[in-house]
Point group: D2
Chain length 397, copies 4
């Protein structure tokens, strides 16, 4: 698919489906290039071949958007709790922009630069200080001339509005994506109201990403759309959920699940779950459809295959995938060949192979929120004494 040179708003205004990419942080953690805990994206500078390869896999799977691998790359975050890096945030962001552009140009994709919620906000810094952090990150996106900007992964709509206000000053299209569910943001602002505030702040595209499974995220964006329409406003909608089933989450999402982040495997969605997700999102009127943590290239390919009738083409990676399991027609065992059909996979209820495990968990979450002492960030590593206090406390929850 050669480049069409169309911008994000042109595509969405024309009613096209825009397919996002998947979750770089989680995928690269499994590949050995990102450290769980700090989750920082220094791999863009340290191991560019690994980041480039993942971009290519998503492009091949059907993605129209290459998000620069700059998640959480504000310098204050880079230094949090003892994390030591040999690159500055600017160096990492520049490398990430170059990689995204290089691969985007190999196909029909746009480059998006993103900013996310800041430790500064959680530590109750002022609007001015928080906005200054966003501005610093923007420098490189302007210098590298990304195609549009995304303010994503915000738990508090107030901070997201601040981010949109900063991003709008660049003149580039702005998308705003919260990491909230149907119960709304951490201050209880409902999704419809959140969306209205973001649109009023100037976001042309609004939606949610991360924290919840596809079902929950699509439901939340529907509530946003209803809010925006009820307010007499207009917007495009985006959704980039987890690739994990999270029916048992509370309002703070999957981070509170006991399985986060190293025991989430049994929750990973199958490609068939993704077909359902893509169809639901499309039917809800969402046109920017992608993924977040847990999304591997084959998940994005499933989205692209489900929406191939609407888009008019299959992604490149489908040369190695028979739709709805058709490749199994070539399997050696006859009972496996018998699985080469849509209704088999649509109706399968896959077993976990884990008879000692439950199907749902009770989320953690100690009832602390913005401004609480436990949430204050620090540059030094967590000490042994601090850890011991945490362990002891965890036993009483």
């Amino acid at each position: 698919m050669a480049s069409t040179n169309k911008g994000i708003l042109e595509r969405l205004d024309a009613g096209e489906v825009v397919i996002g990419d998947g979750g770089f942080v989680f995928a690269l953690e499994k590949r050995g290039y990102v450290k769980a805990g700090p989750w920082t994206p220094e791999a863009a500078a340290e191991h560019p071949e690994a980041v480039r390869q993942l971009h290519r896999e998503f492009l091949r799977a059907g993605s129209n958007v290459m998000q620069t691998f700059t998640f959480y790359a504000s310098d204050d975050k880079l230094e949090n709790r003892g994390n030591k890096l040999t690159f500055t945030g600017a160096q990492i962001n520049e490398a990430a922009c170059d990689l995204a552009r290089e691969v985007a140009n190999e196909g029909d994709a746009l480059v998006a630069g993103g900013v996310s919620q800041t430790p500064s906000y959680l530590s109750c810094k002022s609007e001015k200080e928080v906005k200054a952090t966003f501005k610093k990150q923007l420098d490189v996106f302007i210098k590298k001339n990304v195609d549009f900007l995304i303010a994503e992964y915000f738990e508090h709509v107030e901070e997201a509005v601040w981010a949109v206000e900063v991003l709008k000053e660049t003149g580039k299209p702005v998308a705003a994506s919260l990491c909230v569910g149907p119960e709304g943001d951490m201050h209880g602002v409902p999704p419809g109201e959140c969306a209205v505030r973001l649109v009023k702040a100037g976001a042309q595209i609004v939606g949610v990403n991360c924290h919840f499974d596809p079902l929950t995220c699509v439901k939340t964006v529907k509530m946003m759309k209803e809010g925006v329409e009820k307010a007499g406003l207009k917007a495009h909608y985006m959704v980039q959920p987890l690739a994990y089933h999270t029916p048992d989450c509370n309002c703070q999402g999957f981070i509170d699940l006991p399985e986060f982040p190293f025991g989430l495997e049994p929750r990973i969605l199958t490609r068939w779950d993704m077909h359902k997700y893509a169809r639901d999102a499309y039917n809800a009127g969402i046109r920017f459809i992608g993924g977040c943590c847990g999304f591997e290239p084959y998940h994005i390919r499933a989205v692209a295959e489900e929406l191939a009738p609407e888009r008019g083409f299959l992604p490149a990676a489908s040369e190695k995938h028979g739709t709805w399991g058709a490749g199994l027609e070539m399997h050696t065992k006859p009972w496996v060949r018998a699985r080469a059909r849509r209704d088999y996979w649509e109706n399968l209820k896959p077993a976990s192979g884990r008879p000692l495990c439950p199907s749902m968990s009770s989320p953690d979450g100690w009832g602390v929120t913005k401004g609480h002492a436990d949430l204050l960030q620090q540059k030094e590593a967590t000490t042994k004494d601090q850890l011991k206090q945490l362990f002891d406390r965890s036993k009483t929850h």
Copy 2:
């Protein structure tokens, strides 16, 4: 870890732990380069950068063995059931050898060339014909001078013995790995007896790979070891299991599970399951410890981290991984920091998030074996009529 120039037998004779790599076919299917059904490895020639990257990730995770990505690359398999390729088996195998060598030389790893069970055998071809197929595959391994040879993924010990006999003629070290469980091979030959036959045929390393989960595979290799020792023979032992929980498999393994191959996600082992696997395998006296389908780089890293005390060093990728979750000490939420400890992850029973799904399945398997009409291979694609017959039949099972 720079190369030590030590061969596979030198290492094992010295009591070293040799860590294998993971599952190329499944990992590359998810990345978009292998087609499920035929499962052929043409990506080695078509998309070398993708194969090279995966080799590098396993090397970085601790692998000492780079298996050439030549699984099932016999020409008769390449042509099975309508699969169309632009490369010959030889071309693919040569490219695969070059890639494995290139990456092996970047660290302390050996290159292993492998042959697997053939459709010819299932279709009841003669020993001579089957052996000729193996010989043809060997040409490229000799030309490219691999470090040792593996006859792996054999369901019938008879065919594996034929393979070992062919491989031995090269003068290179030979490992032999069956895809059987504690019930033995498809003719009912028990694991201990299988191992004895393979050792007598000349294999210096024996074990199992694929088809079953780590627990089951380690148990099977223990039975092999007991058989070999009881027979007064000597050998080294290897194990390369699935990264899927398969407590519900029958003797033919995970292919018969209803979830194979597109609904296995809930069964994927966590990194903590891998710690347990590595320790169990080590305690059982196995020293060549790797993985097969489902093993991603982080699974191999977990094996290397568990055995770091024995090996004396951590793998390169551990620079991005705190042992037993230590990286979470840097997480922003205190209840996630409280998970930065071994006993938390060792005792976690991870939920599936799938309340409508069971924990175990009833395997398929129509009771057909070697020589049955349904198992005959064909070059042409499966026809619609043939598929309809299979679907109808599947309903009565």
Copy 3:
């Protein structure tokens, strides 16, 4: 516990806990005296010793209310769909009243006569016709001088209000209990509004019974209480839930679960679940606390044991039960003796022993409601043709 001669309102006005009985229909079905499907209570006349024994077991377990075993005994129901009986509704009701009184007098219990929703209402008969059905049932309760009346198991608050209006004419205390959940009645009237209507119609006690598990029922009664208090009214509250876990029910309750009525075993609450239920109900301000389908005598005993501190005494049957498992102190195996403690049973997550089964189901329910042809009642048995139509239709759901 000798009789205190106090009426139901006297007890509740004094702040006493009144413990209801359990589910006669389901318990006697398992004992062989009630037919699932028609669920009619002819056993009161046919096998009085079996009904008397069950009354005694509940009395012994702590029940203060003996509900006459007259559920659904309106004549139109007795004749529905081919059910053939040798007793009239009046004969059954008289026998049932005598049995309840006989056992109530053996302890400190009251006799309650009950009426339930009628097939007439579902078949769209007029208010006058429906009320006439209730009146007919009342004759025997008056003649036998029950202590109070319960209008229970109503899905539509409109019909329940009609029932209360009829019952009020007797001058006896009237309780009204719907079989609805938090979503309200089948016309969508929310629980708070339902309760207000029932109180205004004259019910002194309002609440819910059947259809949902304890957690859901207590939540619903809390909503009723909030509604009544918000309306400036006063009432007492009752709850008599299922003894089955039903987290997966939709608004119509457990009848729509695929397991109803012959596969509910895995959902049966343990006695420890009942402790939690009793405490939750008490904390919610509910003082008439009993059970419905699935409640066996030991479930009621658990309610009475949990509330023993408030009531000041244990039930008779506790002579055969150590609180929180204390009886296990006498077990022969030491690891079973180690289970003789509260925290063991409170924290146990009991396994199903059913690895091929899910933890939740998708409810049936064909979207038909009051007045739909499929819901019309008929005296004749369902014909084979009618059944075939149902089976075919069930496959498309």
Copy 4:
């Protein structure tokens, strides 16, 4: 069904199916008449109406055998660990015999007197002492002239052989039933060998009861039958399993499951599970088919309904039960009427409604066996110190 006056051996020799009864201890515990922990049967004397009613329910459900409610009624057991009773073992046994006879005479049933394993044996008393305990229990069976004798619930075949030797002296038919699974008795004697020893000791009927689910018990009796036939001997076979699914048990059975005895609800078999059990047992050549702990009257009725074609009649209680759910043809909701068919219930995989619970457990069991200090019996109640030691110890397992 009027009495046929045929003895147990006459019936079995004629090839008849003899249906046993269910589990008195567990059923009466739930009804409030037996204390879990000591599990003693004083209710036969204290609350005869409750015991009589349960006998009647089993008779009505199809039982041909009324076992006297004398399980574990040796005096040394009655006094174990602080249990206080107002009746002697002899008084209880006499009352139990009278009740069993009274009800047996109401239909076509026989009275069986039983003895079980003794605390004396576990405490390493001599053969003479253990046999004296059995003899003492026999006095009342002889005096009350039971129809035959059962030595049941033995974990050690040695003790069971001693029991058979004592019972044989009475001249009555003797059945011997172990509580072991496919792994054999607690000393590792395999089922086939156990059966041979029992037959040689004089038992005319051999089999297993309690401790395992129907599937496991039928499998064990098949192994017994093979052993007996291989030894050139002849016997009849009996099976009386649990009504709980126990796929996760180790060799000591359900007592070691964490759910024993107060959290077993999710494991209770449905009536449809019982149909399968009855058919499997019949097909295995077993003709004395009953139940043990957890079997309620409707479970026995399901056995009798499954074997109605072979027996030629339905049990009395089937007047209140439509075979395979046929009674649902009379249900008011059409989608419930659609469940009135065999294939619906045969294929249902019932959900637990417990998403936080696993499907299997890890059994306890501290590796102590006969003669270990922890297993010694004592007359005094377990002290607080003893309990504390147990609790502490349980945390390390």
